[in-house]
Structures are given as C-alpha cells and as structure tokens.
C-alpha cells in the first residue's frame, strides 16, 4: 500500500510543475530571442543609439596676396522650431520677428501650420545675432526652439574683386562663379563620416561605439590680388564709367616678370554676399570672358614683328599716303589726309593705320601670324579663371589676299580679351619674355603642403626689340595720341586703341566704340602693365574732346591706376 501524501505536497508539486513550465517557456523564449531573432531587437536598439553622421568638410579660404581673407566659411547658426511643442506660437512669432528680420505674419503661418513638426525661424545667422536669440529663448525657457549649425560663405571685402573670387550656392556650397567655380573641387575638401552612440539627449555615450572617418578640409587659395590696389582700381573705374558714360569697363593690372594679376576689376560690380539680388550680367568677369577687337593697341605686335625681323628700324622713314584703298576697303588715318613722310616711331606715336599697314606688308601674313600666335593670341591666356575666352585668331592660310593682312595689322579681324592684351604688353615690358598671367599664386592643402603656381613662359621677341618697343611706347605718351596717360610721378608708355563696336547681327556700330589704353609703368624700369578697356563711352570732355577715343577716355584711367598701384607697391617716383 502506497504511503499517503501529505496535503501540502500535491500543491507543491503543482507549483513546481507550473514553475518548471514557466522556466521552460522563458528559456525557450530566451533561446529564440537570443539565438534566432536576435538581429531585429539588436537593430532596433542600434537605431535608437547608434547614429551615422556625415561630417561636412570646411571649405577652404581664399586670401589676397597679403593673407587677408577674400572668401571665408563659418559655422552659422540656424534656428528652427517644432510647432507642436510651442506653447504660444503667435506670441513667439511676434517676439522673434524683429530679431530675425522676418515678417511676423510669415513666422506666425509657419508656427501654426497644422500637423507641422518643423519650421525654420532663421537660417545661417552669424555669431552675435544668433547669440541674441539664444539668450532670449533661454531667459524665457521657451520650449520647442532648436539651434543647429550650417556652413556659410562670407566675402568680407564685399564687392572687391567679386568677379574674380565669384561665389557659391547657399544650400550646398558649390562654386558658381569665379575662383569658387574654377577651384571648387580643391576648395570643397572631402566630407567625413562618423558612427557614434548617443544618449536620448544627443550626447555621445562614453565607451560606446565610435568610428570616425574625419572630413578632409578644403585647400586654401592664395591669390595674386592686392586688396588695396584692387580697391583703388575699382574706385577709379567706377568714377570713369560715370564721367565717360560708358556701359561697362574693365581694368587689369599685371606685374611684369611674374605674370601675377595684381588687380582685375570690372564695373558695374556686385556684392557676392547678396548675389541673388544682383543683376546677373554683372557676374561676368569681362577681363577674361569678353572679347573685342583691340584696334590700335594690337599695332605693337605688328611693329614688334617688323623690328624683330629687321624689315624696319625705329628711325626708318616711310612715305605714308592720306588714304589707302585695298580691295573694296578704304583705310584712312584720323589726323592726316595727305601723304607725309613718317618714321616708324612717328607711325606708332600718331597711331597711323596706313603706316602700320605698310609695315605689315613688309612683314608678310605668315610671319605676322607667327608673332600674333607667339604673343598668346587665339588661345586662353591663363588657366585659372573660369569662362575664359580664347579669342579668335584665324590661321594665316585662311587670310584673304586683300584686306585680311591690313585689317589684322591695325587690330581688326582678331578677337582678344583684356587679359590677353595685358600679357602682350607685359612681354614687351619683360624684355620680350611672355609669362602666363595668373590669379592664383599657390594652393595650400589642409595638411600644410604648398603648391605654387608655376606659369609657363617663352621668349617672343629679343631684349633689344623689346627695349626699342618701350621707347616707341614712351613716345606715344610724350608726344602722341596717349598724352593723357602721363602719370604725375612716373614716366610711362603705352598705346591707345579705338575700335568700332561689332554688334552681332547688325555689323559695326556707327556710334559705339571700344576705347582702350594699355601701358607700362615706369617705362624705363617696368614694374606693371595696366590695361583699361571701356565699352561704349559717350560724350565730350571739358575741352570738347570726343570721349569715344581711347586716348581721351581710357588713357586718364591708366594714369590714375598706374600712379595708385606704383605708390602702393613702394616704387620710387622717377619724375622729380
């Protein structure tokens, strides 16, 4: 007979079985969750804690030649709200509106939009403005207002060299114009990435997962621009536009020997900090993007070729008729209508078209083309500016037998940019060696490695021919068409240029002219070349001279620019 169980034992047994089943269930669930379904809760947990964050690379800075910032990036503050968390959205809109410069009604609409959980209050605020709002929000303990950072590109010098520096698109900091566009990849750097575990407040969890792939900051650009000379040039150019009623104008200042662009100004200009409000036509860097027929300033190439080839000398005398008919075209000079005997020096000083055509005839089309090409015409002058036009120089085999050579000799049928022409004169100033003009002096990468720009150079004419040319150009200012280019403190030389403006579809304009003057200063010990080009100047000076001529409108601009630039560069005056 089996022993009778005590009454509590049965209950204990039941309880034990229940517990055993429960433990088996828990164990089963544990094995299932840990073993077979572990990925899903693990992923869910990671999603809550582990964050994959992109790290934006700071964009490089653009400096002038003295290391002063022309374009700089900062971490600007963006203020946002979560409307669903706002206690009194209308009152907040009223209080914030004057602080962020946004109409109250606009903010109110954003804050009261049904179902909205995100709205901008203000984007890309700078330090003090952002701090004011932060203090305001913290003082009143307003919930639902958040502060984040966004990169912002700032141009501290405003309109200064704006066409050279360019600007970036606000949203993604991609370069749209100027150096910002040309060097976009270099300036932008490489974005980084980090994987980090954060707590619910966004703080990194110590000992948590942390994988950092740091962003590589963009490289800095050191330009050749001298900010003070650039400012002086811009002021002089804007004043000249007002006085000559020109549509636009551009000035290039090149340093002789190095090819460095010391100043490059175009007027009208714009402020890159507010480019969205500016006239898009002002974005164009006319010094490199606009082409024009250079007119008499190109005669220096014709004369230099003739001197170099030995077909004439500076003192060679020629019989220059009052007019010249070639094919169906009649060539004339401005200041004489009868046949005169002129030396080559006088032909240059008086800018005689007919005399230059006669000299070109001695040189011949083939050799003339050779020199035009060697001086850099027909191809891009510099490699570091965007939208640079190569201009137009037809191969001599395509030149017609009649007017092509003569017209080219006096600066027609050839399209050039102001920078190309400045480089031509710089070669004459540099004893015949053409140096590639450039705006970027060096690129400094984020690790400090310096990469200087090495311009190409080539001998175009001999030192002797270059010296003779400088003497002839000096004569243009001392006793020729360029007398208004004389600077008070420095002896200078240069060449005037006036061409009828070619209007596409209409032909040459009766009224509009491109007036230019390109010169060297000081002419006896050259330091700079200044090219001034004015588009369609109109009217007369006080002494009733026609402002449409380069010698009247552009030459005085050259004198002012040369004087200001040389003083700034510390060049001692050579006129006592």
């Amino acid at each position: 007979m089996a022993a009778r169980r005590k009454p509590g034992e049965a209950r204990l047994l039941v309880l034990g079985v229940v517990f055993a089943i429960a433990w088996v269930g828990i164990g089963f669930r544990l094995v299932r969750v840990q073993g077979f379904e572990s990925e899903e809760p693990k992923t869910r947990g990671e999603l809550q804690r582990v964050r994959h964050e992109d790290l934006s690379a700071p964009r490089g800075t653009i400096f002038d030649r003295d290391g002063v910032e022309l374009a700089v990036s900062i971490d600007a503050v963006t203020v946002t709200v979560n409307p669903s968390e706002l206690g009194k959205p209308r009152a907040l809109a009223r209080l914030l509106a004057p602080k962020v410069g946004v109409p109250r009604s606009v903010l109110r609409d954003r804050f009261t939009k049904p179902g909205s959980q995100f709205a901008y209050v203000a984007r890309r605020l700078e330090g003090s403005a952002a701090q004011e709002i932060r203090d305001f929000v913290e003082e009143r303990e307003i919930a639902g207002v958040y502060f984040g950072t966004e990169p912002k590109r700032i141009y501290p010098a405003g309109e200064l060299a704006s066409q050279v520096v360019g600007f970036v698109r606000d949203d993604d900091m991609v370069g749209l114009e100027g150096l910002e566009l040309k060097y976009d990849e270099v300036l932008a750097g490489v974005p980084g990435h980090q994987i980090v575990e954060r707590d619910p407040y966004g703080n990194p969890i110590p000992q948590g997962e942390f994988i950092l792939e740091p962003a590589q900051p963009g490289a800095d650009l050191i330009t050749t621009i001298d900010r003070e000379i650039e400012y002086a040039v811009q002021q002089i150019l804007e004043r000249a536009l007002n006085e000559t009623n020109a549509d636009s104008g551009t000035v290039v200042v090149l340093e002789v020997g190095t090819g460095e662009v010391v100043a490059m100004a175009t007027a009208p200009s714009f402020d890159p900090n507010a480019f969205a409000q500016a006239d898009p036509t002002t974005f164009r860097n006319r010094a490199v993007a606009d082409v024009y027929e250079p007119g008499s300033t190109l005669k220096v190439v014709t004369i230099a070729a003739a001197l170099e080839e030995g077909v004439v000398a500076a003192r060679t005398t020629m019989k220059v008729p009052g007019k010249l008919e070639i094919g169906d075209k009649e060539y004339t000079d401005v200041d004489h209508r009868i046949t005169e005997r002129m030396t080559v020096a006088e032909i240059v000083a008086r800018s005689s078209n007919i005399g230059t055509i006669l000299i070109q005839d001695l040189v011949g089309n083939r050799r003339h083309h050779q020199y035009l090409s060697a001086f850099g015409l027909g191809r891009v002058a510099s490699g570091d500016l965007p939208a640079e036009a190569p201009g137009r120089l037809e191969h001599f085999s395509d030149w017609c037998d009649t007017t092509c050579g003569p017209s080219t000799a006096i600066g027609y049928r050839v399209d050039v940019t102001p920078l190309q022409m400045a480089a031509v004169f710089a070669a004459i100033a540099n004893d015949g060696v053409w140096v590639e003009p450039h705006v970027v002096r060096e690129v400094i990468s984020s690790d400090g490695a310096r990469q200087p720009y090495e311009p190409t150079e080539r001998a175009v004419i001999s030192e002797r021919t270059a010296r003779t040319m400088r003497r002839l150009l000096k004569g243009v200012v001392e006793s020729g068409t360029g007398w208004r280019a004389a600077a008070p403190s420095f002896t200078v030389g240069g060449k005037t240029g006036t061409t009828e403006k070619f209007v596409p579809g209409e032909g040459y304009s009766e009224e509009d002219r491109i007036a230019s003057f390109i010169g060297i200063a000081p002419i006896d010990d050259p330091r700079i070349v200044v090219a001034v080009v004015l588009d369609s100047p109109h009217g007369e000076t006080e002494d009733e001279s026609d402002l449409r001529f380069g010698g009247v409108s552009a030459a005085p601009v050259f004198a002012e620019v040369a004087e200001a630039a040389l003083h700034r560069m510390g060049v001692p005056p050579d006129v006592r």
Partner: protein
C-alpha cells in the same frame, strides 16, 4: 592545536565548511575573496572614472569647437574691419581726403634701389633716430 568550541550561531557555517580545516588553511581563500571584491569595486570605479573622463572629453571637444568658431568669427570681423571700403568710409566721415599732390622726399642714406617699402621704412627710422 586546539579545536574551537562550536556554538549554535556558527552551526550552519560549520556544517558547510570542511570540518577539519583550521583558519590558517582558510586564509588564502579569504584573501582571494577580498581580492575579488576589491577588484570588482576597482573595476566599477575605473568604469565610472572612464565614463566621467569621457564626458569631460566631450565637454572639452565642445569647448574647442566653440573656441574655433569664435576664432573664425574674430578673423572674419578682422577682415571686415580691414576692408578698404570701410576704412575709406570712416576716414571720409572724419574729414580725411586723399592728397591732391604727392611729394617724394629723397632722404640721404636710404637705398632707393630696394623696392621693399618695409625695408625703406626701417632705413628711414634708423636715419631719423640718428638725428641729433
């Protein structure tokens, strides 16, 4: 060696321990237990210290970021203050004008062949200092 009297309170312990071991034999076990406990607390303390350092590090990184941003702001402010446009406006407001005439003065003892203006200024200062 004398046996310890067994009390009622220590009965359970005595039951669990090997009956014939004396305290000297137990010492290594006690030391081991103490070491384990100390190590455990040391580990906890080190984790706490490490976590605190992590927070401090994070705080310092934030501070560095803040100071770097401040540096950039100040550099920007400096560039704006140096803007020729601003300086001209302030100068004009204060009645300054550009000189209508520039006068060049040749000072004996200064090398005018050197084009560096800073060098010439330095020479000029030397000349002026040497004046009686």
């Amino acid at each position: 060696m004398t046996a310890q009297p067994v009390t009622a309170e220590s009965f359970d312990l005595v039951e669990l321990l090997p009956s014939r071991r004396n305290p000297a034999q137990l010492r290594p076990w006690v030391v081991f237990a103490v070491v384990v406990v100390v190590a455990f607390f040391a580990l906890i303390l080190s984790r706490v210290w490490l976590d605190r350092s992590g927070f401090e590090l994070d705080e310092l990184e934030q501070k560095i970021g803040f100071e770097e941003a401040r540096l950039r702001d100040l550099q920007l402010e400096l560039a704006r203050l140096q803007s020729p446009e601003r300086i001209t406006a302030v100068a004009t407001a204060n009645g300054l004008v550009y000189p209508q005439e520039r006068i060049a003065i040749e000072v004996p003892g200064i090398d005018f062949e050197r084009l560096d203006p800073d060098f010439r200024w330095a020479q000029l200062k030397v000349v002026l200092t040497a004046q009686p």
